[in-house]
């Protein structure tokens, strides 16, 4: 085991952290287990591919979150808000259907071939760190994810909107009675969650290869991360995402066969030992 493997684990953990924080936010507020989160992540990666092919990767980092935020607005206005009185399972399965559709739409636009994105010129090559030569772009992913995580937590803790979001996640109805515009908060949260998923996709695009199944594999892991962290807890999701990324990467070095079941074992252990998740109900 060397520093490069640890850094690989942190890079994977960073992606999981960005993805799962968005999923946890949407769950906390709307109670929806968003099965379309993997599809949002995948769409982000594919849009990033097109933008960086025609213009530049840097522009993609701006365009993708904006585009995905718009998709989030549609999700909220067309599905989550009108269907908010349905059972959570029904709403979850609606997003499941949306994910299936999104996957096919991506194939129809970009084809089934595996695609790859080059890192931008400034971030190619390697950097020397802790005595190893490490790909610069992966370091950039880690930095971007950490900056985003700190910004998100600060925003939630220090601003009025953040306070509203935390209140609404605790109890949507009471928050509404207290005069918080729950619909506005929900719109912000769902579009922000979608934008974060898109950002994760854009960041991942030069790191992983793009194929239409890329969302599914990540979705299951991210769902597990959110449940392990404590459903609806943003900080819990971030911490368990990072931890799972590191543990899984390091176990892969030791034994790949064991590594693939690590997330599932973690889920079962946590749910049997602490069903409310590691962080419990704290947002």
């Amino acid at each position: 085991m060397n520093a490069a493997q640890v850094l690989n684990g942190i890079a994977l953990g960073s992606l999981l952290m960005v993805l799962s924080s968005g999923l946890a936010m949407i769950y906390g507020l709307r109670g929806v287990t968003n099965f379309a989160h993997g599809a949002l992540y995948m769409s982000g990666a594919y849009i990033a591919y097109s933008v960086s092919l025609h213009v530049s990767f840097w522009l993609a980092l701006v365009v993708v979150p904006v585009a995905l935020a718009l998709i989030g607005v549609v999700l909220e206005l067309v599905f989550f808000r009108p269907l908010q009185n349905r059972s959570h399972i029904e709403l979850g399965l609606v997003t499941f259907g949306l994910a299936l559709i999104a996957e096919r739409v991506v194939v129809l636009i970009w084809g089934e071939k595996t695609l790859s994105v080059d890192p931008p010129p400034g971030l190619r090559g390697t950097t020397s760190l802790f005595g190893v030569e490490y790909p610069t772009f992966r370091l950039a992913i880690i930095v971007a994810a950490v900056v985003m995580a700190v910004a998100l937590v600060t925003w939630l803790r220090r601003t009025r909107t953040g306070l509203y979001i935390r209140a609404a996640s605790q109890d949507l109805e009471t928050a509404g009675i207290m005069g918080i515009d729950v619909n506005r908060i929900s719109l912000i949260v769902v579009s922000l969650g979608a934008a974060l998923a898109g950002l994760a996709g854009a960041l991942a695009a030069p790191y992983v290869s793009l194929d239409p199944g890329m969302g599914d594999t990540f979705l299951i892991i991210v769902l597990i991360v959110v449940v392990v962290g404590g459903v609806g807890s943003i900080a819990g999701a971030m911490i368990s995402g990072m931890a799972l990324g590191i543990i899984q990467t390091l176990t892969t070095v030791w034994s790949p066969s064991v590594a693939v079941v690590v997330p599932y074992v973690a889920l079962v252990v946590v749910l049997l030992w602490r069903p409310q998740g590691l962080a419990g109900r704290r947002v």
Binding site: H88, G97, L100, V261, L272
Partner: protein
């Protein structure tokens, strides 16, 4: 995690008061079953087209999977994405029995059903305490863990990893009187799968009407109150889960015999999703809903899968059903039927 059962499930079952579970209903139901069984048995003599017949066999095999999922949804309100593990696990076990241990087809079939049911027991112990979304995610996670294990390179000698498992039967071997080489012939395989399907449907129907079924409904409606009333709610839930696992395992074991090939796809995420969608589109509130949905799905797979766009249509179908037709096809038909019956006397009496 909020425990929420599907409203259409509770609605459709709440309609049947205990008093109506009479002997007459039982006789009527069994008569229908015998008639349907006889009619279905004659299908290969009417449909000579092998392709159509193979679709019918596929629908019946996947129908067993959907029947298991539907049973759990209808009586316990639990939505499972994990039944592919029992279906696929049983199919793989049949292959392992034949290839690895050199057992006969009948022995391997029994082994497959046993392994699938055992898997459902293990998973059931871990998951039946959860409900609603938690149950859905746990079953999904555990079934995907099995998939991941199955495609590992270290399991290649047993499962063939991503290549799948080609099952080589001994040519002189027979299963239920059918030669190994004839099992792939849908016309000859149909009677076997049809009888199993009908037996399972009748068994599930009878269990639903039995005191056991009433306990399950109590647990579904209010688990806490059942515990107050001195009922152990864990064991009935587990029993129901294993039972639905057994039904799915029967389908999987027959699937392996019919196909002589098992691909890891049958354990995968998209198979799990498809089987649940098929059951939901048909309607989880009724016994035949999941079977009807599976039939529609197999038909769609054969006729609408232009350019691999099947998932585009299943996705749309799922959303349309969930948003506009709660209760699926059968639930909607039931609603229309009820409205017609209500309106007739109403219209006559109105001035």
């Amino acid at each position: 995690m909020t425990a929420t059962t599907l409203p259409e499930v509770s609605q459709s079952n709440a309609e049947v008061p205990a008093g109506r579970r009479s002997r007459r209903g039982l006789v009527f139901g069994l008569t229908v079953a015998v008639v349907v069984a006889a009619v279905g048995y004659a299908v290969p003599y009417v449909i000579k087209d092998t392709y159509t017949m193979s679709l019918a066999v596929e629908a019946a095999l996947l129908g067993l999977l959907a029947l298991g999922i539907g049973f759990l949804a209808r009586h316990l309100g639990l939505i499972s994405l994990g039944h592919t593990s029992f279906f696929g696990g049983a199919a793989y076990a049949v292959g392992v029995g034949v290839n690895h241990y050199g057992w006969s087809m009948t022995q391997s079939f029994a082994f497959g059903v046993l392994v699938g049911t055992a898997l459902s027991l293990v998973m059931g112990v871990l998951v039946v305490r959860a409900s609603g979304m938690g149950f859905l995610m746990l079953t999904l996670a555990l079934s995907q863990a099995l998939y991941q294990l199955c495609v590992q390179t270290s399991f290649r000698p047993l499962t063939g990893a991503y290549d799948g498992l080609l099952i080589s039967f001994r040519p002189d071997d027979t299963f239920a009187g059918v030669n190994a080489s004839d099992l792939q012939n849908p016309g000859l395989f149909w009677p076997i799968v049809w009888i199993v399907l009908i037996v399972c449907v009748v068994a599930v129907w009878l269990l639903g009407r039995s005191p056991f079924g009433t306990i399950l409904e109590g647990v579904r409606e209010n688990e806490e109150r059942m515990r107050f009333s001195n009922y152990n709610t864990f064991r009935p839930r587990l029993a129901a889960f294993v039972l639905s696992g057994l039904v799915a395992s029967l389908g999987g074991a027959l699937f392996a015999l019919n196909g002589a090939y098992v691909s890891p796809d049958i354990l995968g995420f998209s198979r799990a999703g498809d089987s649940l969608i098929a059951a939901m589109v048909g309607g989880l509130g009724s016994l035949i809903g999941p079977l009807l949905g599976t039939g529609l799905y197999v038909w769609g797979e054969a006729h609408l899968n232009t350019g691999g766009n099947l998932h585009l249509y299943t996705g749309i179908a799922l959303i349309v059903v969930l948003v506009f037709l709660p209760g699926g096809v059968t639930g909607t038909l039931q609603r229309i039927w009820r409205r017609l019956r209500k309106e007739r006397p109403g219209m006559g009496g109105r001035r």
